[in-house]
Symmetry: C2
Subunit: 476 residues, 2 copies
């Protein structure tokens, strides 16, 4: 239900959207004129315009010159969702996809390539000017300007601001619960190292972020890939049995808008998951890096919210939404804090004082919420646009996820299509995406691909997806 606090135009737009979804209004149908809508709904002309503008932004309707607005797409008619993958026989550690990852990402800084491969936002939508101001403030007003080391646990202001982000959660967290890191990968590295020994087994989602797989491999860990549903996340019944059977020492899950499936674990499942890790007293490393990029009304909770024993190590960063190059990440490592601090001392001594102090200042005064609100709207629109283009250009048999947050789509093609071969072909057209094979240590997901919709919609993006579609059709 729409809350009355919402803008009037959103209420109207939402009504129309529901009618489209329920086929009350059909694809291709002309909508009432703006004047008519204003009269019907008893709203101003401006509000009526705003409502159509919003729906156009979402890609549901289009304006045709000298004619008016038409319904152009229906979300319900989108391609079906992929299913949950089958469980694996046993954890593995020997198969490596490292070469493939390096090949896919060797082009990462080549500006001539259209990159559907990176799950980050383009710098053009990041608050570069605000961050620059924060840096200048730090250099001018904070003693020797971030040139010296900071305390081992991290910049005090930044930690305090991070603690404040947990305001809506169940527990109250303070700066003392936070340890800063050089981005989220660094946090995951410290947390995994703190909670496991080489040779141990950990549980990951399947498909799973290739970065986590690579990291586990580098740390000499075995990985059990847990079946994961594209809507509800990890199969908890399976996990509950697997932990004792495979002597799992830690779980590393992206609970909100998981990469690559985009699934968001329902809060009830989160609570249940925490109970499971508490029962076996193992660590749950919760990668919440996409949590702030939700499309719904409210931010989803975290497992950390339900953590009473300190088994959850929450990891996050500002790399997705604010400044990837500033390397501002953190963990709230629960009862593993001392171990994490020690490892941070051994590996890094200190984070980058300047950018971390600047990030603290930005969070304090930079209207982070306001920035996020715009980013979310933009990403939501883009997710729909991209998904619809994929439905249009890819074969009908393609299955596509419908993420409610984050910045990636997961596409499943027919079994015989090898997306790594597809990748090598699209690269010749200067287009890159992530082949599905990267997302497992088992030999699976060869027929899948991950498409990031971080780049704003443009003709180039449209052409790029069209080209991928054509190449897939040729492989059918």
């Amino acid at each position: 239900m729409i809350k009355t606090a919402d803008h009037l135009y959103l209420q109207v737009a939402d009504k129309i959207e529901q009618m489209i979804e329920k086929d009350v209004m059909k694809m291709g149908e002309k909508l009432p004129s703006v004047r008519m809508l204003s009269k019907q709904q008893g709203i101003s002309l401006t509000t009526a315009f705003q409502a159509y503008y919003h729906l156009e932004g979402k890609g549901l309707i289009e304006s045709r010159p000298k004619s008016g607005y038409y319904i152009c797409r229906n979300i319900r008619r989108m391609a079906p969702m992929p299913g949950t993958c089958a469980p694996v026989r046993k954890p593995v550690s020997d198969v490596t996809v490292s070469d493939m990852v390096m090949e896919v990402f060797s082009h990462i800084t080549n500006d001539n390539i259209l990159k559907f491969s990176v799950a980050t936002l383009p710098v053009s939508v990041l608050p570069a000017a605000k961050m620059a101001k924060a840096v200048i403030h730090t250099m001018r007003d904070q003693g020797p300007g971030g040139i010296g080391y900071e305390p081992l646990q991290g910049n005090e202001l930044l930690r305090n601001q991070i603690a404040r982000l947990s305001l809506g959660w169940g527990e109250v967290y303070t700066a003392d619960d936070v340890v800063t890191t050089h981005g989220c990968m660094d946090a995951l590295t410290l947390c995994l190292t703190a909670t496991t020994q080489p040779g141990d087994t950990i549980a990951l989602e399947s498909p799973s972020y290739y970065g986590a797989l690579q990291l586990a491999e580098g740390l000499g860990l075995k990985v059990l890939e847990v079946p994961t549903n594209p809507i509800t996340g990890v199969d908890l019944d399976y996990l509950d049995k697997a932990i004792p059977r495979h002597k799992i020492k830690a779980c590393l899950f992206v609970t909100n808008f998981n990469n690559p499936l985009g699934c968001c674990m329902p809060d009830k499942h989160k609570q249940e998951l925490v109970k499971i890790v508490e029962k076996y007293d193992i660590a749950l490393i919760e990668d919440d890096i996409y949590g702030d990029l939700y499309f719904g009304k409210q931010r989803p909770l975290t497992c950390k919210t339900f953590d009473t024993q300190g088994n959850v190590l929450l990891c996050n960063s500002l790399s997705k939404s604010v400044a990837p190059g500033y390397r501002v990440g953190w963990t709230m490592p629960g009862k593993y804090k001392e171990k994490v601090l020690r490892l941070k001392h051994h590996h890094a001594i200190s984070c980058t004082s300047l950018t971390h102090a600047a990030a603290g200042h930005f969070l304090e005064i930079g209207r982070y919420d306001f920035h996020l609100r715009n980013l979310r709207k933009m990403l939501h629109t883009q997710s729909l646009r991209y998904a619809q283009a994929i439905c249009e250009y890819f074969p009908e048999s393609a299955r596509v996820t419908r993420p409610q947050g984050g910045c990636v789509l997961w596409v499943e093609l027919e079994d015989h299509i090898n997306t790594f071969e597809l990748f090598q072909q699209t690269l010749k057209h200067k287009i890159a995406f992530c082949p599905g094979r990267l997302f497992s240590l088992q030999n699976r997901y060869n027929n899948c691909l991950r498409i990031s919709y971080g780049n704003p919609w443009s003709k180039q993006v449209d052409d790029g997806l069209k080209t991928i579609g054509k190449l897939i059709h040729k492989m059918q």
Copy 2:
């Protein structure tokens, strides 16, 4: 020999210094007046003043009000040097000094404590304003101002500038040979991880930088501590036999102005060391972090200079001399480059783009050489001042190193004195140093301590050393 290119005042000062050293001029003796010196040497009054001022800075002479200059100290009369430690029976991995390290460094950001414990320079002597300018330049002139990721191998300008630092070496290195890291510890972490497996044995100097010991422990490595001479460094004959006997996979040595002994391996030894690691085809991780802080006429070479097979992984950073908080480090990993790049990709994705770009700009235009020259002079003077104060205040039986670079002194007390107990006592007086026990995984060096002379000489420093001396006397 003094080169004629040197300033006149330095030539005169050097002559006087030699006379003091050879006891031609004796401690307590009055020196010729400035006017007399000017006449004798045929130099201006200003030059004569400068010569005395220089000697005063070195702590060799002192001016007494209304009386003139007096010889106050003689370097030759300093305490004897510590000897080389005895070899150990076998490599160990189980003893941990981690708790002790955490206790010593828990006070690291407490400004009320006089810290002889940290081997870094105070921010007051670092080029904070120049670095701030470089940051502003980067934010203004470089596209989106360092907010995005940089290429995996690191900022191109920075890598190019780093390659230029090797100008004086035998081989020619380019930006392509350099991988940037978040400081030197991060470089050591990547290089050790790239060249070893958990359970392997590595060789370190003894005494050895506690950071390296902690890191090795964290990576599940066994450590063989190699006897090290306070002047010439690692015992190469011992090492040559130890590598096959203990199946050593990598050596991690601080070849120039080692921490804590301050020894600088002669260039001939470096060449020999490279031959040894080539013979067994193992990795030599060369930590050159103090190499630029030499007191002599020329920068010592590195083992990398003699590396023809790519077995040497050189590690360094700007943390000692420019900006610790900017986390600018690097490695030239030789034939291990691909492995190091992969690990960097898994652990961090990217370094801090902003500070790394700024560091590149600073090296390009910031008169780094000029800055270093002043820093070296300052450190040389401080090393003498600190050493002399230690001779004066500590018991006569104390042995003190005479480093020719870097920023730490190593002091050996009588066997029965436990410096960790001493540390706990000095801490009550708000004075911290590094107990010797931190520098070994064996139970040794309990009677030693490391004193950093990074802080400029002051009454507070003088009083601090006096207090430590008093407390040692009480323990005799």
